[in-house]
């Protein structure tokens, strides 16, 4: 006979958990892991006019971009649950970490600050999608969770900003951390997140101030990495440009999204998401002109010639020279009938096929060192220094303070790093109006940060979503020439400005908590 008082052999209980620094830090590690996942990171692009999810409904991106979703959509509840899951981890950590004996105050304070950053990040994501959300900074009981009401968005914004100021003062800079701590939240990350929060509120002066703080050295040393393509390569992880990222470890904590993103001929299973013609069209010519501008030199029959080098670093198009891990290249044949091996023609466009529904594939974040099925441990960057420069340029322009110096330090610097050499692409033109500059800066932002998951948030804060997320989204010019000049009609989209700027509170949540209420027109 066994005794009735049995203790688990593979779990800790409350009696023996909060006893060491190591165990406490493991709770914090969990909070890190909950910050963001690769699925959201990649497929959020499918919510925007940058890409189209044509197979299945990955991360709800098809339903949302088609405007056919309702509060029962799984993505809504999933995002809600995951974010609050991360908040709970932080609250439990903060409420128990003081129980740990023999822990240095420096470390304890640093870890608390890291945790508070992560909690604020979750709230930032929550209110950005949902608007007003349940808000609390102490772990709540089941009973409380069933009756909690939503806090106005503005209050949550204030909290996040206040937290960023406080934790920035407590956290080390990127350079102050040991190399083995690469990936931990830094004071720079706190200021960068603050800048982004302010950006989404259109608080331009504050954005500019925060960006200037980062352009100085108080919060760590940041700069542009010397190669645009290299920013996203595994050998350059944690480079000088990286401010905040999700850390991955080859083999041990890895993702394989590229299994559904890469061209099929290089080993992908199918195409889960494909870049759109609308994005491709926004890349400048090497002379700095937009393709539609007079004198741009754009040739619709050779659309990928003389384009912004970032296009090639981001998007795979017909005839693309795909650099393979062994250094050789392989041509990607997308145009129907172009593949010399017509028994395979894996990447060729065809309606209803499993290949890309737009005629484009992704390249940015392809990991040449990846394992089978593209299993990759490449870190995914949430905020990088290029973004800080773009935020600064945008803020300064909105404030009416854009000038050649700022231009040279921001847009021109980014273009130079990207590989533009033509002075007409690099030089500031004093004749540009504020509106001209707004167009230029927004386009620059789109191309620089394409496929990095930020576009949908920009459309929502610019309130341009109803313009660009309605009607046909297109693919390359492989379609019926009689329709839309031959550009593939990939998807018909609906964005209703009256309701779609906020996601609805998930159906199941409202069923469990009658005090949540619902967003307008849902």
């Amino acid at each position: 006979c066994k005794k009735l008082d049995l203790a688990p052999t593979d779990h800790f209980t409350d009696l023996n958990y909060w006893t060491s620094t190591e165990k406490a830090s493991q709770v914090l590690n969990t909070a890190y892991s909950q910050m963001m996942n690769d699925g959201y990171f990649f497929y959020n692009e499918g919510l925007s006019d940058n890409a189209f999810v044509g197979r299945g409904d990955n991360q709800g991106a098809l339903s949302i971009s088609n405007g056919t979703y309702d509060p029962s959509l799984g993505r809504l509840k999933d995002e809600w649950d995951k974010r609050y899951g991360g908040i709970k981890t932080v609250n439990v950590f903060l409420e128990n970490v003081d129980r740990v004996p023999d822990m240095s105050d420096t470390l304890r304070n640093r870890m608390k600050a890291e945790a508070r950053f992560l909690r604020a990040f979750q709230y930032f994501q929550l209110y950005t999608w949902f608007g007003d959300v349940p808000f609390f900074t102490k772990d709540i009981t089941i009973a409380e969770s069933r009756s909690i009401a939503r806090t106005p968005r503005a209050q949550v914004v204030d909290f996040v900003l206040k937290e960023m100021d406080e934790v920035a003062a407590l956290l080390p800079t990127k350079q102050q951390y040991d190399a083995s701590d690469a990936g931990r939240i830094t004071s720079g990350a706190a200021i960068a997140l603050k800048a982004r929060v302010l950006l989404y509120e259109n608080r331009w002066a504050d954005v500019a101030t925060a960006c200037e703080q980062l352009m100085g050295t108080t919060y760590g040393q940041y700069g542009l990495f010397n190669s645009y393509e290299g920013v996203f390569l595994p050998q350059n992880e944690n480079n000088i440009e990286d401010i905040l990222d999700i850390q991955y470890v080859p083999e041990y904590r890895a993702y394989s999204d590229y299994f559904d993103l890469a061209p099929l001929s290089v080993g992908a299973r199918d195409n889960g998401m494909a870049p759109l013609q609308e994005l491709v069209d926004d890349y400048l010519m090497t002379n700095g002109k937009a393709i539609g501008e007079t004198g741009s030199g754009y040739d619709e029959n050779h659309p990928y010639q003389n384009r912004d080098p970032r296009l090639t670093a981001t998007i795979v198009y017909d005839g693309y020279a795909w650099k393979k891990p062994d250094g050789t290249t392989q041509t990607i044949y997308i145009k129907p009938g172009s593949d010399p091996d017509q028994s395979k023609k894996l990447d060729e466009y065809g309606p209803g096929r499993v290949s890309s529904p737009t005629g484009y594939y992704m390249r940015k974040y392809y990991d040449p060192s990846g394992g089978n099925n593209f299993l990759s441990g490449l870190n995914l960057i949430l905020i990088r220094y290029a973004d800080v420069l773009l935020m600064y340029a945008e803020a300064k322009n909105e404030l009416g303070q854009m000038d050649a110096t700022i231009w040279n330090n921001t847009i021109a610097a980014l273009r130079k790093r990207a590989g533009f050499t033509d002075p007409s692409a690099l030089n500031f033109n004093a004749g540009w109006s504020k509106a001209d500059l707004q167009t230029i800066i927004r386009r620059e932002r789109r191309c620089e940060l394409a496929m990095e998951g930020t576009r949908i948030f920009d459309l929502r804060r610019w309130k341009t979503a109803e313009k660009v997320l309605n009607g046909w989204a297109h693919g390359a010019r492989f379609g019926d020439p009689a329709i839309d000049n031959g550009y593939i009609r990939a998807a018909q989209r609906v964005f209703n400005a009256q309701k779609h700027y906020l996601w609805p509170v998930p159906r199941d949540e409202r069923a469990l908590d009658p005090n949540l209420g619902q967003n307008p027109n849902w």
Partner: protein, 1106 residues
């Protein structure tokens, strides 16, 4: 209680009477008799039933005459004695004399004869015994017996299972006996918790299934054989793959978690019924109500299934029996794709319907070419094949007057219907059941060993099925070079390639079941019993994934995983019981009390390797250990349960019956203060047919009994340690600077978690008419389960895992009816029919409602509704024209077209949304029924079993409902052709529209009654046609019995849904795990037609007895 004989038999030596000296203080009468015998040389003959030899007396007899001594000793005890030659016959005063004619002298005699049945066929193996002695014999293969006896006349008791027992007096010579088939089951012994009862005394709702009902069926496990055998024993099969588990349920759903009944095998709880050899089973008792089950109080809330295996019989010659069935299993796919070119045309239609401006997928040329070329084999057909199944069993039974034995060996080989290197289940059973008596001790030793080898494909069967069925018939599986092809549907893998070369998952499990029971008859009435029993499972799983390359692209198993999983679990059950039986005149008293403990330990570990050697799967350069591997201490579970049990029953003249049961349990799953659960029950019975006033009806109504019971049962079926907050460390949760770090997850405790309780009220009536040829039973029950163990529905804002709470109440009520009729002399016929219903309702859920969804399927837990009722939108026909669309409510944001589904606007707000959801149906089967019919004539016999469900809503989603499902499928099936077109306005399905379009979203992405199908069915579960050789012919070839038969399973089905097996279910009953979601697991593909198909069996069987 079983009759108990105890007779002293002495050898007569001389006739001289001596004087007697006997002085003793409180010695047992048996000692006194022994002294008398020694001093006198007389033999004392008496029946132990008659004379209590354990009574203690004091004597002071000195030099008395023998006869006077006898008077002094026996007269005060009320014992009459007679002296006959060299014997003294003792009997109780008033008892009929042992020897009706004492004037005759006792001589040695012999009786011989033949025992036959009503048709004059000899019956071998019949027990012929001299009444009140242990002397007896059994008939031989021709039914002959010979028996020597001492004395003038004896009474022979002739008995054989299934026939009425006869008692005949004889003086010797020839005595032929014809036995009559027993028409009553009332005197059968029924196995109940911790004991047995005569059927007539049973007051609870107990069904007994006999081995005969399980025979001759080509089944792989016992539960399949039990389907349809007992009312409200509901068995569903989510997936028919060899080795797959079934859902077992008694009387429907009354709790919100695990509804699996407790299984007790040979008195030891918690056994795996699927590992039993069905041929070893003697009988199965299904305990349904509290009266019957309360003695298992702790986990009996879902009912109890008691399985008893076969034993040998006393003084029986060895009987060697062989049973074998060889059958072919034919996979039965009920849905089929349209022709390839039609598929192309219809897919174009879907695309153009979705958007008239979109380019069709296939050109007219493509379609014409396809039509000309003709179809390839549909991949689902190509990956399934007919398979063989064999069952062989050999058993030897027998015994002498002290010891019985049953030894059996069984072999099952059930090949899998998937094409590939011998996938399937092989099971080897060995069993040895021994009982022996040594004086007052009786020992029973049961030992069974089961080894099973299950070899499955290395990849999920549901995905293989899905891939295969979603591929249109224009894609070939292989090219002329023999390469496995991939295509626009099979984008990654080709299922045939995986099945044939992708490696396998092998389970080789050893199960040892043993129990040792020692029983001591302290007195005639009091028995002590100690049981030590348990099971040892040593399970091993070995998965080997092998790399397969496809053309033009795709590779399976690139990681070349080799996984080893080892698990050992030990379950030990200790029982100490005391049993007291007393008959006082017309009063029968029975008391049982005792203590039991159940201890369970499971330890497991798993080693997972990646990048192993392609040929051997062994570690090689580059091999890494997958971090998902676990150590033993990560896979250890321990539980313990202490229990006190008690039962007291009383009956008067087999007319009035009353019983009280009690059980108290302490479970390690709960904190100290909440550990104990108390489970009492009472039950009573009134056998009206035994009343004097009833005698005038007795000629028609032979048997009429009313029964009733009320009791409280418990459930603790949750994972352990929930009363403590637990922290679990997961490795590789995150990483810094490319070094993985661990993370910790936590589950907050519920220190108050305690027993779930079910109060059950049951009323029943048993009736037997026409000489008990027709018997029927009816039971009504109502059960209120409270403190239901449930993970409460918790808002996402809570943010974390929640333990079980005692929440909620469910009422479940229903009834069972069964009727049985047996008739005929030359032609024997037997009819049995049972039907049952159960209906549950969530009574209390703290005002909460909980909706769970699996894709479009949504089920709700809500007060006032049956457990997990389907909810969704209700269709109101189709939009037939634009006018229709303008005037009707539509889902917001969806631009619908004619031919799309119009939904009912429940709340009349002009918009179709979640507020318009209706309750669409109850997923649980109701009006479950079974009908069996057997007829035999001369040597021929025919038997059939029809089984089915009267009412059930079945939710089926996925490609079997939606053509070109999500673009993952590119197929439209024949049954989907009934879709809306202007000339087919009342179609079953809406118009075709491609994935992602507003029409598609409206029609298929909204959970609605489009997906609800009628799951009622009736199925010819088994049909058997057999022939037995006449006894003398069988004897001629050295056998006692030889029967050959043809058998078929699932031969014919009438169902409300035509394209999927109605027996398949979208729900899982939670086999052995306490997770809250386990009634809504869709992983088996049960609700999307991706489950391994239910096969049809055609078999040939042979039963031979030597």
């Amino acid at each position: 209680a079983i009759d108990h004989h105890y007779t002293t038999r002495l050898t007569v030596t001389e006739t001289q009477v001596k004087s007697i000296d006997l002085v003793c203080q409180r010695r047992e009468l048996s000692w006194v008799i022994a002294s008398l015998q020694q001093q006198s040389g007389f033999a004392f003959v008496f029946s132990d039933d008659d004379i209590d030899t354990r009574q203690k007396i004091s004597l002071n007899i000195q030099h008395q005459e023998f006869k006077e001594s006898l008077q002094i000793i026996f007269t005060p005890l009320g014992i009459h004695f007679e002296m006959l030659n060299d014997k003294v016959l003792l009997r109780k005063d008033g008892a009929t004399t042992l020897l009706p004619n004492p004037a005759h002298a006792l001589v040695d005699g012999e009786v011989h004869g033949r025992v036959t049945d009503e048709k004059g066929q000899p019956i071998p193996g019949v027990t012929v015994q001299i009444k009140n002695t242990s002397k007896g014999t059994v008939t031989d293969a021709q039914g002959y017996y010979t028996l020597k006896f001492t004395g003038e006349q004896v009474v022979l008791q002739i008995s054989y299972l299934g026939y009425d027992k006869q008692e005949l007096a004889t003086n010797g010579g020839t005595l032929n006996v014809q036995l009559k088939t027993s028409n009553t089951t009332l005197n059968d012994v029924v196995v109940v918790g911790y004991g047995t009862q005569r059927r007539v005394t049973v007051t609870g709702a107990i069904d007994q299934v006999k081995s005969q009902q399980l025979e001759g069926r080509p089944v792989a496990n016992t539960m399949q054989a039990l389907q349809g055998a007992s009312p409200n024993l509901i068995i569903q099969q989510p997936n028919a793959q060899p080795g797959a588990a079934v859902n077992i349920n008694i009387r429907g759903l009354s709790t919100l978690g695990d509804n699996t009944p407790l299984v007790v095998i040979d008195g030891i709880p918690g056994g795996d019924i699927n590992l039993l050899n069905p041929s070893d089973i003697d009988n199965v008792s299904v305990l349904k109500d509290a009266g019957a089950a309360a003695i298992y109080g702790s986990r009996a809330a879902n009912g109890v299934i008691l399985v008893t295996t076969k034993r040998g019989s006393k003084t029986a010659k060895p009987l060697v029996t062989y049973n074998g069935i060889l059958s072919v299993t034919q996979p039965h796919i009920l849905f089929h794709p349209v022709k390839g070119y039609e598929n192309m045309m219809l897919r174009n239609e879907a695309v153009v319907n979705a958007n008239p401006n979109q380019q069709p997928i296939y050109s007219p040329d493509d379609i014409a070419q396809m039509k000309e070329k003709g179809d390839e084999e549909w991949i689902l057909d190509a990956i399934l094949q007919n398979a063989l199944q064999q069952n062989h069993n050999l058993s030897v039974t027998g015994g002498n007057d002290k010891t019985t034995y049953m030894v059996s060996a069984g072999y099952l080989n059930q090949a899998n219907n998937f094409v590939g290197p011998d996938y399937g289940l092989k099971r080897y059973n060995y069993r040895m059941n021994l009982t022996t008596e040594i004086g007052r001790f009786k020992f029973t030793s049961l030992l069974s060993y089961t080894h099973s080898d299950l070899k499955d494909q290395s990849y999920d069967a549901g995905f293989l099925m899905a891939d295969a069925e979603r591929t249109p018939t224009y894609y070939a599986l292989k090219d002329s070079l023999g390469r496995y092809l991939t295509n626009d549907v099979l984008t990654e893998f080709n299922p045939l390639g995986i099945l044939q070369h992708g490696g396998s998952s092998k389970n080789d499990n050893d199960n040892l079941f043993g129990s040792f029971t020692g029983e001591l008859a302290v007195t005639k009435d009091l028995k002590l019993r100690g049981v030590l029993g348990g099971t040892l499972n040593a399970n091993h799983r070995f998965i080997r994934v092998q790399e397969v390359d496809f053309y033009p692209k795709g590779t399976y198993g690139q990681n070349r995983n080799t996984d080893d999983y080892n698990e050992k679990n030990i379950f030990i059950n200790t029982q100490l019981l005391a049993e007291y039986t007393k008959k006082l005149g017309n009063h029968n008293i029975y008391v049982l009390g005792g203590f039991t403990n159940e201890s369970f330990t499971k330890r497991s570990n798993e080693l997972k390797l990646k990048y192993t050697d392609p040929d051997l799967g062994t570690p090689t350069t580059g091999t890494v250990i997958d971090p998902g591997s676990t150590n033993t201490n990560q896979g250890t579970t321990e539980t313990s349960l202490n229990s006190f049990i008690g039962r007291a029953s009383y009956s008067y003249q087999d007319r009035y019956f009353a019983e009280v049961d009690f059980r108290a349990d302490a479970s390690s799953k709960f904190a100290k203060d909440h550990r104990w659960g108390y489970f009492p029950s009472i039950s009573g019975g009134w056998r009206i047919s035994s009343e004097k006033f009833f005698s005038r009806f007795a000629n028609t109504i032979n048997e009429l009994k009313l029964r009733g019971s009320y009791g409280v049962l418990g459930n603790q079926n949750i994972q352990p340690y929930q009363y403590q907050t637990t922290y679990t460390v997961y490795n590789n949760m995150y990483g810094f600077n490319n070094s993985p770090v661990s993370g910790t997850g936590f589950t907050f405790s519920n220190p108050d978690v305690t027993w779930e309780k079910a109060a059950t009220l049951d009323g029943g009536v048993d009736i037997g008419v026409f000489n008990n040829k027709l018997t029927a039973s009816f039971d009504y029950f109502t059960k209120l389960t409270s403190n239901i163990l449930l993970v409460p529905p918790t808002p996402g804002a809570y943010g974390g895992a929640v333990p079980f709470y005692n929440l909620g109440k469910v009422r479940n009520q229903g009834w069972e009816f069964s009727i049985h009729y047996r008739t005929g002399n030359q032609v024997h016929q037997e009819f049995g029919f049972n039907i049952a219903d159960s209906h549950n309702e969530v009574i209390y859920l703290d005002g909460q409602q909980y909706i769970s969804s699996g894709d479009e399927m949504q089920v709700i837990l809500k007060e006032g509704l049956p457990y997990n009722s389907y909810i969704g939108l209700k269709r109101d026909g189709y939009f037939q024209n634009l006018n229709d669309i303008q005037n009707a409510a539509k889902p917001a944001g969806l631009d619908v077209s004619p031919g799309d589904i119009k939904f009912k606007d429940k709340n009349k707000d002009g918009v179709i949304d979640d507020n318009d959801r209706y309750v669409l149906g109850n997923p649980f089967p109701r009006y479950t029924f079974g009908f069996n019919y057997n007829i035999s004539w001369k040597g021929f016999d025919l038997g059939m079993l029809i089984q089915g469900v009267g009412k059930r809503a079945m939710f089926i989603r996925g490609e079997l409902v939606e053509p070109f499902h999500y673009n993952y499928s590119q197929v439209i099936y024949q049954h989907q052709l009934d879709y809306w077109r202007p000339d087919n306005p009342d179609a079953r399905y809406p118009r075709l529209a491609a994935n992602g379009s507003a029409s598609n979203t409206n029609n298929f992405r909204r959970g609605s009654d489009l997906y609800i199908f009628n799951g009622a069915y009736g199925r010819l579960k088994n049909l058997q046609l057999g022939y037995s050789l006449p006894g003398n012919v069988a004897q001629h070839i050295g056998m006692k019995k030889l029967r050959v038969y043809l058998t078929g399973q699932n031969l014919l089905t009438i169902s409300g849904v035509k394209f999927i097996d109605p027996e398949s279910t979208e729900f899982k009953n939670g086999q052995g795990n306490g997770s809250q979601q386990n009634n809504l697991s869709v992983s088996a593909g049960g609700n999307s037609g991706r489950a391994y198909p239910t096969p049809i069996y055609y078999g040939f069987g042979l039963d031979a007895t030597f």
